[in-house]
Symmetry: C2
Subunit: 427 residues, 2 copies
């Protein structure tokens, strides 16, 4: 058996300890699969407090950047987190020293991934991030290797367990968003400050990484359209269900006309589709290729075991001398497509709360028609009092045209509330 691959682990949180657990539990099998032993030599964390396991066999570094340049470390596992600061310094120090890096840090990779990949290439090192996208599901590998024979036509994902838990629980129990969020926090499915999850940014960072790998293009994370689930109401979840749809926080990326469209927003999807059937905290990624057609990948998106599984798979790849470029092609071959939010044509779900006066429906239809938007379905639901809830499913149109029509409808005071509009994604 050849020389061991020596691992330094920067960060001893849930994921770091999960990685140590796997490398210890499966040391023999991993050596057999990798063709060489994989050994932890050094660790780094902010404190040396007791973590319930014996870490005394490993050298300890208080500064992760020092760990990254140790002579007895060939590969650094970065599980510190954060898009700048110590995580970035550690990864840069490791790559600049020609050491391989495996990271679970989607924020870092979404912001600096292509620059870091270029640094890795210059120094003959590998940079891998499977654990940063959809936890234990090997979906980066699917895009960069397993489906590499295809031109990807679309990639979609439900990649935030907190949001999918909240949306499916609201539907199942009839509870409001805020009640379900409180429960999710009690169960550990949502953070005390949930903004990063429910606001869509966590999932958007994952989507950005998938997009680079899928379309071989740079992505400007600041230009990605990001909308969270905070405004999704039980009313809309139920109306959507009546129409045969479910509301999901869905990431979608497409490429065409020299641009890449990247959106993370609540969408309606057919209830019977794989994404429509996805329950609770499970993640799902759908990859469509010109030759393969539609493939679907489902699994746990978070937690020590699943995330650790992805980190260790990347380690085994590197131990096996697998040298796939970080995003599937060398950084120099990535396209410079602009990231757009425009959105391809789609049908839309609209809910309007109209003043209950004669002629209002006709006025709405006219406003939509003036902007080229035709109506596929319209339902006025039963109501009491002075307002009439109206549901509309449009034919395919552009969001910009729809927004103009909605502005006009709002401007003419036909509605009592702000109109609700969700894209219906065909899956």
């Amino acid at each position: 058996m050849s020389t061991p691959l020596r691992i330094g682990i920067a960060g001893l949180g849930t994921v770091g300890l999960g990685v140590i657990d796997i490398l210890r539990t499966h040391a023999t099998t991993i050596a057999m699969r990798a063709g060489r032993p994989v050994e932890i030599t050094a660790i780094s964390a902010r404190s040396r407090r007791d973590r319930g396991i014996d870490l005394s066999a490993y050298a300890f570094e208080a500064d992760p950047a020092d760990l990254a340049t140790r002579d007895d470390v060939d590969l650094v596992v970065e599980v510190i987190g954060g898009e700048n600061g110590p995580a970035k310094e550690t990864v840069e120090a490791a790559l600049a020293s020609g050491k391989h890096v495996v990271t679970a840090n989607k924020a870092l990779m979404a912001r600096h991934g292509t620059a870091l990949a270029a640094l890795a290439e210059r120094h003959g090192a590998c940079l891998r991030y499977e654990a940063g996208v959809a936890g234990g599901i090997p979906v980066v590998k699917a895009l960069t290797e397993g489906l590499a024979a295809n031109a990807v036509t679309r990639v979609m994902g439900v990649m935030n367990g907190t949001c999918n838990y909240i949306l499916t629980k609201m539907e199942a129990t009839g509870e409001d968003y805020s009640d379900v969020l409180t429960e999710a926090q009690a169960l550990g499915y949502a953070e005390a400050d949930p903004a990063f999850d429910v606001g869509g940014m966590d999932a958007a960072q994952k989507l950005a990484l998938l997009t680079i790998a899928a379309f071989g293009t740079h992505v400007d994370i600041d230009a990605v359209k990001v909308e969270g689930i905070e405004q999704v109401t039980l009313t809309d979840i139920r109306y959507a269900r009546d129409l045969g749809y479910r509301i999901k926080l869905l990431g979608v990326a497409r490429s065409g006309d020299g641009a890449v469209e990247v959106r993370m927003q609540p969408c309606l999807v057919p209830a019977q589709s794989p994404i429509g059937q996805l329950e609770s905290v499970v993640n799902m990624v759908v990859i469509e290729g010109d030759f393969v057609g539609q493939t679907v990948f489902q699994g746990p998106g978070a937690g020590a075991g699943p995330t650790g599984s992805a980190v260790v798979a990347d380690i085994i790849d590197i131990a096996r001398d697998i040298r796939v470029p970080t995003f599937g092609v060398p950084v120099a071959d990535l396209r410079e497509y602009p990231t757009t939010t425009a959105g391809s044509p789609a049908t839309y779900y609209l809910r309007l709360t109209l003043e209950d006066r004669p002629g209002m429906l006709a006025k709405v239809a006219a406003a939509l028609g003036q902007h080229g938007i035709s109506i596929n379905q319209m339902r006025q639901t039963e109501h009491e009092g002075g307002s009439a809830p109206v549901l509309i499913v449009t034919h395919a149109c552009l969001r910009q045209d729809l927004d103009k029509a909605l502005d006009e409808i709002t401007g003419q005071s036909m509605c009592q509330d702000t109109p609700v509009a969700y894209r219906i994604e065909t899956v």
Copy 2:
């Protein structure tokens, strides 16, 4: 850019032509991803008849074994088919000459895979077969690479599109097995001689390959329990649905106690599970690992595009110098576990057509009880005439005990028909 990887294609059927189409359509992207051009240099087929595309740029060999040893071929794509004969001779000739082989031939690999992998290892060549299992879904790669950090606890799959089409169509339309089979043949979803598909052997070969990769053990294909869907009736499909299940031709492999259990048979699965929701010709593979938990892979299981996609992905891997052992570990490290058909404990669905006489139900319950089988649910459905259909869901028991009880029930002439018994697989 470095030296081209030169490809010889043995077999110009649907898959062979699909591979040529992909390599031509995406030549530039593939070269970018692989880091070197991938070029077809030679082809082989039984005849030189016109196939609607210009193949004049490639050298032609009438004998595929001659193609396999050409100096201008580095990698042979074997898409001839068959577990022996020209396919085996071609693969052996190529590997013995140190040439890489990518095959879509599950029959060959299920029968001779480990011997061929050993031959490849001796000559420093790669042998890959992603296209042989579940078409375009990169599930061999998931097992041998993406989930390599795990001890797999169970692998399951619906991997024959013909069978899943027939079963879901029977349920949707209420048509009988033979009518739906005829339609499937007309649509090209079933062969003129459907025995290999509906009898379960096609799916069993795929399952055997997944089992070797999942558990790192030899599998004796002749010892795999294989049962087809020919006996599945509309009656059972409907009763199963009433109980909250669907009937699928399900492959399941597990390892424990120094043996590997491999079964391909109609099973009941919960209607709301991913497998239970699988419609039409789509394939699905579920892989469970000790750290990652449950992962699910879905996609097209057949056809020129999906199968070609898997073949070309293997080619790109080899062009990238990826050298993962054929089954994830070197052949010398594969375990010699015996292949058992025993089956772990499970609950069972039983349908008995009892003589409509007093005391029959009590006798059945007694016969089951004598063999340690307790009843979870029993339903006697409405009936006319002299026979009473009875549905039973057992508590967990061993198939061998159940079979003894059913023998006794049959022996005492309580039933008018042979009892129907399907395993309920928890998913």
